[in-house]
Symmetry: C2
Subunit: 264 residues, 2 copies
Protein backbone atom coordinates (compact mmCIF):
# COMPACT_ATOMS: atom_id res chain seq x y z
CA UNK A 1 0.00 0.00 0.00
CA UNK A 2 1.42 3.40 -0.99
CA UNK A 3 1.94 6.19 1.54
CA UNK A 4 -0.74 8.21 -0.25
CA UNK A 5 -3.24 5.36 0.19
CA UNK A 6 -2.18 4.57 3.75
CA UNK A 7 -2.60 8.19 4.83
CA UNK A 8 -5.67 8.98 2.70
CA UNK A 9 -8.49 10.97 4.27
CA UNK A 10 -12.16 11.02 3.38
CA UNK A 11 -15.14 13.22 4.09
CA UNK A 12 -14.80 16.87 4.95
CA UNK A 13 -14.98 19.74 5.03
CA UNK A 14 -14.51 20.26 8.73
CA UNK A 15 -14.33 16.62 9.67
CA UNK A 16 -12.21 13.98 7.95
CA UNK A 17 -11.72 10.29 8.50
CA UNK A 18 -8.79 8.02 7.89
CA UNK A 19 -7.47 4.61 8.86
CA UNK A 20 -3.93 4.03 10.08
CA UNK A 21 -2.96 0.66 8.62
CA UNK A 22 -0.90 -1.96 10.38
CA UNK A 23 2.87 -1.66 10.23
CA UNK A 24 3.54 2.09 10.35
CA UNK A 25 4.59 1.81 13.99
CA UNK A 26 7.60 1.76 16.26
CA UNK A 27 7.10 -0.41 19.36
CA UNK A 28 3.38 -0.39 18.56
CA UNK A 29 3.14 3.41 18.32
CA UNK A 30 2.35 4.89 14.92
CA UNK A 31 5.18 7.00 13.53
CA UNK A 32 4.70 10.69 14.39
CA UNK A 33 5.56 11.91 10.91
CA UNK A 34 2.97 9.56 9.43
CA UNK A 35 0.20 10.92 11.67
CA UNK A 36 1.22 14.50 11.00
CA UNK A 37 1.33 13.84 7.25
CA UNK A 38 -2.22 12.55 7.49
CA UNK A 39 -3.27 15.75 9.29
CA UNK A 40 -1.53 18.00 6.74
CA UNK A 41 -3.23 15.99 3.98
CA UNK A 42 -6.62 16.74 5.50
CA UNK A 43 -5.85 20.44 5.94
CA UNK A 44 -4.56 20.65 2.35
CA UNK A 45 -8.03 19.64 1.12
CA UNK A 46 -9.39 22.80 2.73
CA UNK A 47 -6.53 25.08 1.72
CA UNK A 48 -7.86 25.15 -1.85
CA UNK A 49 -4.80 24.74 -4.05
CA UNK A 50 -2.37 26.29 -1.61
CA UNK A 51 0.86 24.51 -0.70
CA UNK A 52 2.06 23.55 2.75
CA UNK A 53 4.97 25.74 3.86
CA UNK A 54 4.98 25.07 7.60
CA UNK A 55 3.41 22.61 10.02
CA UNK A 56 3.76 22.09 13.75
CA UNK A 57 2.28 19.13 15.55
CA UNK A 58 1.94 18.54 19.29
CA UNK A 59 1.57 14.89 20.23
CA UNK A 60 -1.02 14.08 22.87
CA UNK A 61 -1.53 10.33 22.98
CA UNK A 62 -0.16 7.38 21.02
CA UNK A 63 -2.14 5.20 18.63
CA UNK A 64 -1.12 1.78 17.37
CA UNK A 65 -3.39 1.65 14.32
CA UNK A 66 -7.01 1.93 13.29
CA UNK A 67 -9.57 4.62 12.48
CA UNK A 68 -8.91 8.29 13.17
CA UNK A 69 -11.00 11.44 12.87
CA UNK A 70 -9.49 14.81 11.97
CA UNK A 71 -11.31 18.04 12.79
CA UNK A 72 -10.08 20.88 10.57
CA UNK A 73 -10.61 24.55 11.35
CA UNK A 74 -9.60 27.39 9.02
CA UNK A 75 -8.06 30.02 11.30
CA UNK A 76 -7.31 32.47 8.52
CA UNK A 77 -7.56 32.59 4.77
CA UNK A 78 -5.60 35.62 3.62
CA UNK A 79 -4.44 36.99 0.31
CA UNK A 80 -1.47 34.66 -0.01
CA UNK A 81 -1.43 32.50 3.16
CA UNK A 82 -3.96 30.26 4.87
CA UNK A 83 -3.56 28.97 8.41
CA UNK A 84 -5.46 25.88 9.49
CA UNK A 85 -5.62 23.81 12.62
CA UNK A 86 -6.28 20.07 12.77
CA UNK A 87 -7.12 17.98 15.80
CA UNK A 88 -6.76 14.25 15.30
CA UNK A 89 -8.42 11.70 17.54
CA UNK A 90 -8.63 7.94 17.61
CA UNK A 91 -9.31 5.09 19.99
CA UNK A 92 -11.40 7.53 22.06
CA UNK A 93 -8.55 9.98 22.72
CA UNK A 94 -6.98 13.11 21.28
CA UNK A 95 -3.83 12.11 19.42
CA UNK A 96 -2.37 15.18 17.83
CA UNK A 97 -2.95 18.90 17.31
CA UNK A 98 -1.39 20.38 14.16
CA UNK A 99 -1.23 23.90 12.79
CA UNK A 100 -0.49 24.19 9.08
CA UNK A 101 0.33 27.22 6.95
CA UNK A 102 -0.43 27.00 3.24
CA UNK A 103 0.71 29.49 0.60
CA UNK A 104 -0.33 30.46 -2.92
CA UNK A 105 1.96 28.52 -5.27
CA UNK A 106 2.42 31.53 -7.56
CA UNK A 107 2.85 34.17 -4.86
CA UNK A 108 5.37 36.87 -5.73
CA UNK A 109 8.86 36.07 -4.46
CA UNK A 110 11.96 38.19 -4.23
CA UNK A 111 14.91 37.28 -6.43
CA UNK A 112 17.90 35.53 -5.00
CA UNK A 113 18.33 32.79 -2.45
CA UNK A 114 20.75 32.55 0.44
CA UNK A 115 21.91 29.04 1.29
CA UNK A 116 24.63 28.77 3.93
CA UNK A 117 24.87 24.99 4.20
CA UNK A 118 25.30 21.97 1.96
CA UNK A 119 23.66 18.58 1.70
CA UNK A 120 25.21 16.02 4.04
CA UNK A 121 28.18 14.00 2.90
CA UNK A 122 26.66 10.62 2.07
CA UNK A 123 27.88 7.67 0.02
CA UNK A 124 25.49 6.68 -2.80
CA UNK A 125 22.30 4.96 -1.58
CA UNK A 126 23.51 1.49 -2.58
CA UNK A 127 26.61 1.93 -0.41
CA UNK A 128 24.48 2.91 2.59
CA UNK A 129 22.80 0.50 4.97
CA UNK A 130 19.13 -0.14 4.47
CA UNK A 131 17.05 -0.18 7.62
CA UNK A 132 14.65 -3.13 7.47
CA UNK A 133 12.31 -4.55 10.10
CA UNK A 134 13.82 -7.17 12.34
CA UNK A 135 11.93 -10.44 12.52
CA UNK A 136 13.41 -11.33 15.90
CA UNK A 137 13.86 -7.99 17.73
CA UNK A 138 11.76 -4.84 18.22
CA UNK A 139 14.39 -2.75 16.38
CA UNK A 140 14.52 -1.87 13.54
CA UNK A 141 10.74 -1.49 13.81
CA UNK A 142 8.03 -2.50 11.30
CA UNK A 143 7.82 1.13 10.11
CA UNK A 144 11.20 0.82 8.37
CA UNK A 145 9.66 -1.62 5.93
CA UNK A 146 7.06 0.95 4.79
CA UNK A 147 9.58 3.46 3.45
CA UNK A 148 13.09 3.21 2.08
CA UNK A 149 15.72 4.54 4.47
CA UNK A 150 19.43 4.01 3.83
CA UNK A 151 21.71 5.09 6.64
CA UNK A 152 25.27 6.35 6.41
CA UNK A 153 27.47 3.33 7.28
CA UNK A 154 29.12 5.30 10.13
CA UNK A 155 25.77 6.02 11.70
CA UNK A 156 23.89 2.79 11.45
CA UNK A 157 24.52 2.22 15.16
CA UNK A 158 20.98 0.98 15.51
CA UNK A 159 21.86 -1.85 13.17
CA UNK A 160 25.50 -2.44 14.07
CA UNK A 161 25.51 -1.72 17.81
CA UNK A 162 28.46 0.70 17.60
CA UNK A 163 27.21 4.20 18.32
CA UNK A 164 29.32 7.29 17.67
CA UNK A 165 29.93 10.39 19.78
CA UNK A 166 28.05 13.18 18.10
CA UNK A 167 24.33 12.41 17.91
CA UNK A 168 24.26 12.82 14.14
CA UNK A 169 22.17 10.69 11.80
CA UNK A 170 22.57 10.92 8.03
CA UNK A 171 20.75 8.92 5.44
CA UNK A 172 18.71 8.73 2.28
CA UNK A 173 14.91 8.61 2.18
CA UNK A 174 12.36 7.84 -0.48
CA UNK A 175 8.95 6.24 -0.71
CA UNK A 176 8.67 2.65 -1.90
CA UNK A 177 8.21 1.66 -5.52
CA UNK A 178 8.99 5.10 -6.93
CA UNK A 179 5.93 6.72 -5.36
CA UNK A 180 6.06 10.47 -5.96
CA UNK A 181 6.49 12.67 -2.93
CA UNK A 182 4.26 15.56 -1.95
CA UNK A 183 4.48 17.92 1.03
CA UNK A 184 2.84 15.29 3.25
CA UNK A 185 5.58 12.82 2.34
CA UNK A 186 8.16 15.48 3.19
CA UNK A 187 6.58 15.73 6.64
CA UNK A 188 6.89 11.95 6.92
CA UNK A 189 10.56 12.12 5.90
CA UNK A 190 11.41 14.46 8.79
CA UNK A 191 10.55 11.71 11.28
CA UNK A 192 11.58 8.61 9.34
CA UNK A 193 15.19 8.01 10.38
CA UNK A 194 16.21 6.61 13.77
CA UNK A 195 16.71 9.33 16.40
CA UNK A 196 20.12 11.02 16.09
CA UNK A 197 20.58 10.48 19.82
CA UNK A 198 20.80 6.73 19.14
CA UNK A 199 24.15 7.50 17.50
CA UNK A 200 25.69 8.77 20.76
CA UNK A 201 26.80 7.43 24.12
CA UNK A 202 23.24 7.91 25.42
CA UNK A 203 21.35 4.66 25.83
CA UNK A 204 19.03 4.06 22.88
CA UNK A 205 15.51 3.93 24.18
CA UNK A 206 12.07 5.36 23.84
CA UNK A 207 12.36 9.05 22.89
CA UNK A 208 8.77 10.23 22.54
CA UNK A 209 8.24 13.31 20.38
CA UNK A 210 6.57 16.19 22.21
CA UNK A 211 6.26 18.40 19.16
CA UNK A 212 7.56 18.54 15.62
CA UNK A 213 7.91 21.60 13.37
CA UNK A 214 8.52 21.29 9.64
CA UNK A 215 9.24 24.04 7.13
CA UNK A 216 8.55 22.72 3.64
CA UNK A 217 10.65 24.58 1.08
CA UNK A 218 9.92 22.19 -1.82
CA UNK A 219 6.50 20.52 -1.84
CA UNK A 220 7.26 18.15 -4.73
CA UNK A 221 10.84 16.88 -4.51
CA UNK A 222 12.05 14.18 -6.88
CA UNK A 223 14.42 11.26 -6.41
CA UNK A 224 16.27 10.39 -3.22
CA UNK A 225 16.21 12.86 -0.35
CA UNK A 226 19.42 13.27 1.63
CA UNK A 227 18.77 13.85 5.29
CA UNK A 228 20.84 15.16 8.19
CA UNK A 229 19.52 15.02 11.75
CA UNK A 230 21.45 16.40 14.70
CA UNK A 231 20.91 16.66 18.44
CA UNK A 232 23.12 19.26 20.07
CA UNK A 233 21.41 19.90 23.39
CA UNK A 234 20.23 17.29 25.86
CA UNK A 235 19.31 19.19 29.04
CA UNK A 236 16.74 18.66 31.76
CA UNK A 237 15.55 15.41 30.22
CA UNK A 238 14.73 17.06 26.89
CA UNK A 239 16.40 17.03 23.53
CA UNK A 240 15.92 18.79 20.24
CA UNK A 241 16.47 17.10 16.91
CA UNK A 242 17.12 19.39 13.97
CA UNK A 243 16.69 18.09 10.45
CA UNK A 244 17.77 19.29 7.03
CA UNK A 245 16.43 17.56 3.97
CA UNK A 246 17.83 18.08 0.47
CA UNK A 247 17.09 16.79 -3.01
CA UNK A 248 19.59 15.09 -5.30
CA UNK A 249 20.38 18.39 -7.01
CA UNK A 250 21.36 20.06 -3.75
CA UNK A 251 18.12 22.01 -3.37
CA UNK A 252 16.72 22.51 0.11
CA UNK A 253 13.52 20.51 0.63
CA UNK A 254 12.74 20.98 4.32
CA UNK A 255 13.93 22.01 7.75
CA UNK A 256 12.58 20.31 10.85
CA UNK A 257 12.92 20.54 14.58
CA UNK A 258 11.45 18.31 17.20
CA UNK A 259 11.39 18.35 20.97
CA UNK A 260 11.61 14.87 22.45
CA UNK A 261 11.97 13.41 25.90
CA UNK A 262 15.11 11.50 26.76
CA UNK A 263 14.94 7.78 27.39
CA UNK A 264 15.23 6.96 31.07
CA UNK B 1 5.61 49.48 33.24
CA UNK B 2 7.23 46.06 33.72
CA UNK B 3 6.92 43.28 31.16
CA UNK B 4 4.93 41.27 33.71
CA UNK B 5 2.46 44.14 34.09
CA UNK B 6 2.34 44.92 30.37
CA UNK B 7 1.56 41.31 29.49
CA UNK B 8 -0.67 40.54 32.49
CA UNK B 9 -3.86 38.56 31.90
CA UNK B 10 -7.04 38.54 33.93
CA UNK B 11 -10.11 36.37 34.21
CA UNK B 12 -10.09 32.71 33.29
CA UNK B 13 -10.30 29.84 33.28
CA UNK B 14 -11.07 29.33 29.62
CA UNK B 15 -11.18 32.96 28.66
CA UNK B 16 -8.59 35.58 29.62
CA UNK B 17 -8.29 39.28 28.94
CA UNK B 18 -5.27 41.54 28.59
CA UNK B 19 -4.32 44.92 27.23
CA UNK B 20 -1.36 45.49 24.94
CA UNK B 21 0.06 48.85 26.01
CA UNK B 22 1.47 51.47 23.67
CA UNK B 23 5.09 51.13 22.61
CA UNK B 24 5.65 47.36 22.30
CA UNK B 25 5.48 47.64 18.51
CA UNK B 26 7.63 47.67 15.40
CA UNK B 27 6.16 49.86 12.62
CA UNK B 28 2.89 49.87 14.57
CA UNK B 29 2.73 46.07 14.85
CA UNK B 30 3.04 44.58 18.34
CA UNK B 31 6.15 42.45 18.76
CA UNK B 32 5.40 38.79 18.10
CA UNK B 33 7.32 37.55 21.12
CA UNK B 34 5.35 39.90 23.35
CA UNK B 35 1.99 38.57 22.12
CA UNK B 36 3.16 34.98 22.41
CA UNK B 37 4.47 35.63 25.93
CA UNK B 38 1.04 36.95 26.84
CA UNK B 39 -0.55 33.77 25.48
CA UNK B 40 1.89 31.50 27.34
CA UNK B 41 1.20 33.51 30.50
CA UNK B 42 -2.52 32.80 30.14
CA UNK B 43 -1.95 29.09 29.48
CA UNK B 44 0.41 28.87 32.48
CA UNK B 45 -2.48 29.90 34.75
CA UNK B 46 -4.28 26.75 33.66
CA UNK B 47 -1.28 24.45 33.70
CA UNK B 48 -1.40 24.38 37.50
CA UNK B 49 2.21 24.77 38.62
CA UNK B 50 3.72 23.20 35.54
CA UNK B 51 6.50 24.97 33.65
CA UNK B 52 6.54 25.93 29.99
CA UNK B 53 8.92 23.72 28.00
CA UNK B 54 7.73 24.39 24.45
CA UNK B 55 5.50 26.86 22.66
CA UNK B 56 4.63 27.39 19.02
CA UNK B 57 2.67 30.35 17.77
CA UNK B 58 1.17 30.96 14.34
CA UNK B 59 0.54 34.61 13.57
CA UNK B 60 -2.75 35.42 11.90
CA UNK B 61 -3.25 39.19 11.95
CA UNK B 62 -1.29 42.14 13.35
CA UNK B 63 -2.40 44.32 16.26
CA UNK B 64 -0.99 47.73 17.13
CA UNK B 65 -2.18 47.87 20.75
CA UNK B 66 -5.29 47.60 22.87
CA UNK B 67 -7.45 44.93 24.46
CA UNK B 68 -7.08 41.26 23.61
CA UNK B 69 -8.98 38.12 24.57
CA UNK B 70 -7.31 34.75 24.94
CA UNK B 71 -9.30 31.53 24.75
CA UNK B 72 -7.46 28.68 26.45
CA UNK B 73 -8.22 25.01 25.89
CA UNK B 74 -6.54 22.17 27.78
CA UNK B 75 -5.83 19.53 25.13
CA UNK B 76 -4.24 17.08 27.52
CA UNK B 77 -3.29 16.97 31.16
CA UNK B 78 -1.10 13.90 31.62
CA UNK B 79 1.07 12.53 34.39
CA UNK B 80 4.00 14.84 33.73
CA UNK B 81 3.04 16.99 30.71
CA UNK B 82 0.10 19.26 29.91
CA UNK B 83 -0.63 20.54 26.42
CA UNK B 84 -2.76 23.65 26.00
CA UNK B 85 -3.91 25.73 23.09
CA UNK B 86 -4.54 29.46 23.15
CA UNK B 87 -6.31 31.58 20.56
CA UNK B 88 -5.77 35.30 20.90
CA UNK B 89 -8.04 37.85 19.30
CA UNK B 90 -8.23 41.62 19.30
CA UNK B 91 -9.61 44.47 17.26
CA UNK B 92 -12.26 42.06 15.97
CA UNK B 93 -9.83 39.60 14.44
CA UNK B 94 -7.88 36.45 15.30
CA UNK B 95 -4.30 37.42 16.07
CA UNK B 96 -2.43 34.33 17.10
CA UNK B 97 -2.83 30.62 17.79
CA UNK B 98 -0.37 29.13 20.28
CA UNK B 99 0.21 25.60 21.52
CA UNK B 100 2.10 25.29 24.79
CA UNK B 101 3.52 22.27 26.55
CA UNK B 102 3.99 22.49 30.31
CA UNK B 103 5.91 19.99 32.46
CA UNK B 104 6.04 19.03 36.13
CA UNK B 105 8.98 20.94 37.62
CA UNK B 106 10.10 17.92 39.66
CA UNK B 107 9.64 15.28 36.98
CA UNK B 108 12.29 12.56 37.00
CA UNK B 109 15.19 13.34 34.68
CA UNK B 110 18.04 11.20 33.47
CA UNK B 111 21.55 12.07 34.60
CA UNK B 112 23.93 13.81 32.28
CA UNK B 113 23.56 16.56 29.73
CA UNK B 114 24.93 16.79 26.22
CA UNK B 115 25.79 20.30 25.02
CA UNK B 116 27.50 20.55 21.65
CA UNK B 117 27.68 24.34 21.32
CA UNK B 118 28.83 27.36 23.31
CA UNK B 119 27.38 30.76 24.08
CA UNK B 120 28.12 33.30 21.35
CA UNK B 121 31.31 35.30 21.48
CA UNK B 122 30.17 38.70 22.75
CA UNK B 123 31.99 41.63 24.31
CA UNK B 124 30.62 42.62 27.74
CA UNK B 125 27.24 44.38 27.62
CA UNK B 126 28.72 47.83 28.18
CA UNK B 127 30.96 47.37 25.11
CA UNK B 128 27.98 46.41 22.95
CA UNK B 129 25.64 48.83 21.23
CA UNK B 130 22.33 49.51 22.88
CA UNK B 131 19.34 49.55 20.56
CA UNK B 132 17.14 52.52 21.47
CA UNK B 133 14.10 53.96 19.71
CA UNK B 134 14.84 56.58 17.11
CA UNK B 135 13.01 59.87 17.52
CA UNK B 136 13.36 60.74 13.86
CA UNK B 137 13.19 57.41 11.97
CA UNK B 138 11.01 54.26 12.18
CA UNK B 139 14.06 52.15 13.09
CA UNK B 140 15.06 51.27 15.75
CA UNK B 141 11.40 50.92 16.71
CA UNK B 142 9.63 51.94 19.95
CA UNK B 143 9.79 48.32 21.14
CA UNK B 144 13.55 48.58 21.70
CA UNK B 145 12.88 51.05 24.53
CA UNK B 146 10.78 48.48 26.44
CA UNK B 147 13.58 45.96 26.91
CA UNK B 148 17.34 46.20 27.09
CA UNK B 149 19.07 44.86 23.98
CA UNK B 150 22.79 45.36 23.40
CA UNK B 151 24.05 44.26 20.00
CA UNK B 152 27.48 42.97 19.08
CA UNK B 153 29.30 45.98 17.55
CA UNK B 154 29.95 44.00 14.34
CA UNK B 155 26.25 43.32 13.92
CA UNK B 156 24.56 46.55 14.75
CA UNK B 157 23.97 47.12 11.05
CA UNK B 158 20.52 48.40 11.83
CA UNK B 159 22.14 51.22 13.76
CA UNK B 160 25.30 51.78 11.76
CA UNK B 161 24.12 51.07 8.22
CA UNK B 162 26.96 48.62 7.48
CA UNK B 163 25.51 45.12 7.19
CA UNK B 164 27.71 42.02 7.13
CA UNK B 165 27.60 38.92 4.94
CA UNK B 166 26.35 36.14 7.12
CA UNK B 167 22.88 36.92 8.50
CA UNK B 168 24.00 36.51 12.09
CA UNK B 169 22.78 38.66 14.98
CA UNK B 170 24.37 38.42 18.42
CA UNK B 171 23.49 40.45 21.45
CA UNK B 172 22.56 40.64 25.10
CA UNK B 173 19.01 40.79 26.40
CA UNK B 174 17.44 41.57 29.74
CA UNK B 175 14.30 43.19 31.05
CA UNK B 176 14.43 46.78 32.27
CA UNK B 177 15.16 47.76 35.86
CA UNK B 178 16.32 44.32 36.92
CA UNK B 179 12.89 42.72 36.41
CA UNK B 180 13.20 38.98 36.94
CA UNK B 181 12.62 36.77 33.94
CA UNK B 182 10.18 33.89 33.72
CA UNK B 183 9.41 31.54 30.85
CA UNK B 184 7.17 34.18 29.24
CA UNK B 185 10.08 36.64 29.23
CA UNK B 186 12.23 33.95 27.62
CA UNK B 187 9.63 33.72 24.84
CA UNK B 188 9.86 37.50 24.47
CA UNK B 189 13.66 37.30 24.26
CA UNK B 190 13.52 34.97 21.27
CA UNK B 191 11.93 37.72 19.18
CA UNK B 192 13.56 40.81 20.69
CA UNK B 193 16.64 41.38 18.54
CA UNK B 194 16.53 42.78 15.00
CA UNK B 195 16.14 40.06 12.35
CA UNK B 196 19.46 38.35 11.57
CA UNK B 197 18.71 38.89 7.88
CA UNK B 198 19.17 42.64 8.45
CA UNK B 199 22.85 41.84 8.93
CA UNK B 200 23.27 40.56 5.36
CA UNK B 201 23.25 41.89 1.82
CA UNK B 202 19.46 41.42 1.71
CA UNK B 203 17.56 44.67 1.93
CA UNK B 204 16.32 45.32 5.47
CA UNK B 205 12.57 45.48 5.36
CA UNK B 206 9.42 44.08 6.79
CA UNK B 207 9.95 40.37 7.60
CA UNK B 208 6.65 39.21 9.10
CA UNK B 209 6.82 36.14 11.29
CA UNK B 210 4.64 33.28 10.09
CA UNK B 211 5.31 31.07 13.09
CA UNK B 212 7.67 30.91 16.04
CA UNK B 213 8.69 27.85 18.05
CA UNK B 214 10.47 28.15 21.39
CA UNK B 215 11.95 25.40 23.53
CA UNK B 216 12.40 26.72 27.06
CA UNK B 217 15.20 24.84 28.82
CA UNK B 218 15.46 27.24 31.80
CA UNK B 219 12.22 28.92 32.91
CA UNK B 220 13.90 31.29 35.40
CA UNK B 221 17.22 32.53 34.04
CA UNK B 222 19.15 35.22 35.92
CA UNK B 223 21.26 38.13 34.69
CA UNK B 224 21.98 38.98 31.08
CA UNK B 225 21.00 36.52 28.38
CA UNK B 226 23.40 36.08 25.49
CA UNK B 227 21.61 35.52 22.22
CA UNK B 228 22.63 34.19 18.82
CA UNK B 229 20.26 34.35 15.88
CA UNK B 230 21.13 32.94 12.47
CA UNK B 231 19.42 32.69 9.10
CA UNK B 232 20.99 30.07 6.85
CA UNK B 233 18.30 29.46 4.24
CA UNK B 234 16.40 32.08 2.28
CA UNK B 235 14.51 30.20 -0.43
CA UNK B 236 11.20 30.75 -2.20
CA UNK B 237 10.60 34.00 -0.36
CA UNK B 238 10.88 32.36 3.06
CA UNK B 239 13.53 32.36 5.70
CA UNK B 240 14.10 30.61 8.98
CA UNK B 241 15.71 32.30 11.96
CA UNK B 242 17.25 30.00 14.54
CA UNK B 243 17.98 31.29 18.00
CA UNK B 244 20.09 30.08 20.90
CA UNK B 245 19.81 31.82 24.23
CA UNK B 246 22.25 31.28 27.10
CA UNK B 247 22.66 32.57 30.63
CA UNK B 248 25.77 34.26 32.00
CA UNK B 249 27.05 30.96 33.38
CA UNK B 250 26.93 29.28 29.98
CA UNK B 251 23.72 27.36 30.65
CA UNK B 252 21.28 26.86 27.79
CA UNK B 253 18.08 28.87 28.32
CA UNK B 254 16.18 28.42 25.07
CA UNK B 255 16.18 27.38 21.44
CA UNK B 256 13.94 29.11 18.95
CA UNK B 257 13.07 28.88 15.30
CA UNK B 258 10.85 31.12 13.29
CA UNK B 259 9.59 31.08 9.73
CA UNK B 260 9.34 34.56 8.26
CA UNK B 261 8.60 36.03 4.87
CA UNK B 262 11.33 37.91 3.06
CA UNK B 263 11.00 41.64 2.51
CA UNK B 264 10.11 42.45 -1.07
Amino acid sequence: MSFADASAVFGGPGRWKGEVPEGWDIFGVTNGGFLMGMATRAMAQEAVGRQLISATGSYLNPLSKGPVAIEVEVLKSGRSLSTLRATMSGDGRSLLSVTGVYAEPDRPRPDGDLVRAKPPDLPPPDECIRAMPSETAPLPPPFTGKVEVRLHPDEAALLTGAPGEDAVMRGWFRLLDGEEMDANAVVLATDALPPAIFNSPYPAGWTPTVDLTVQVRDPAPRGWLSCLFTTRFVTGGMLEEDGEIWDEDGGLVALSRQLALVAR
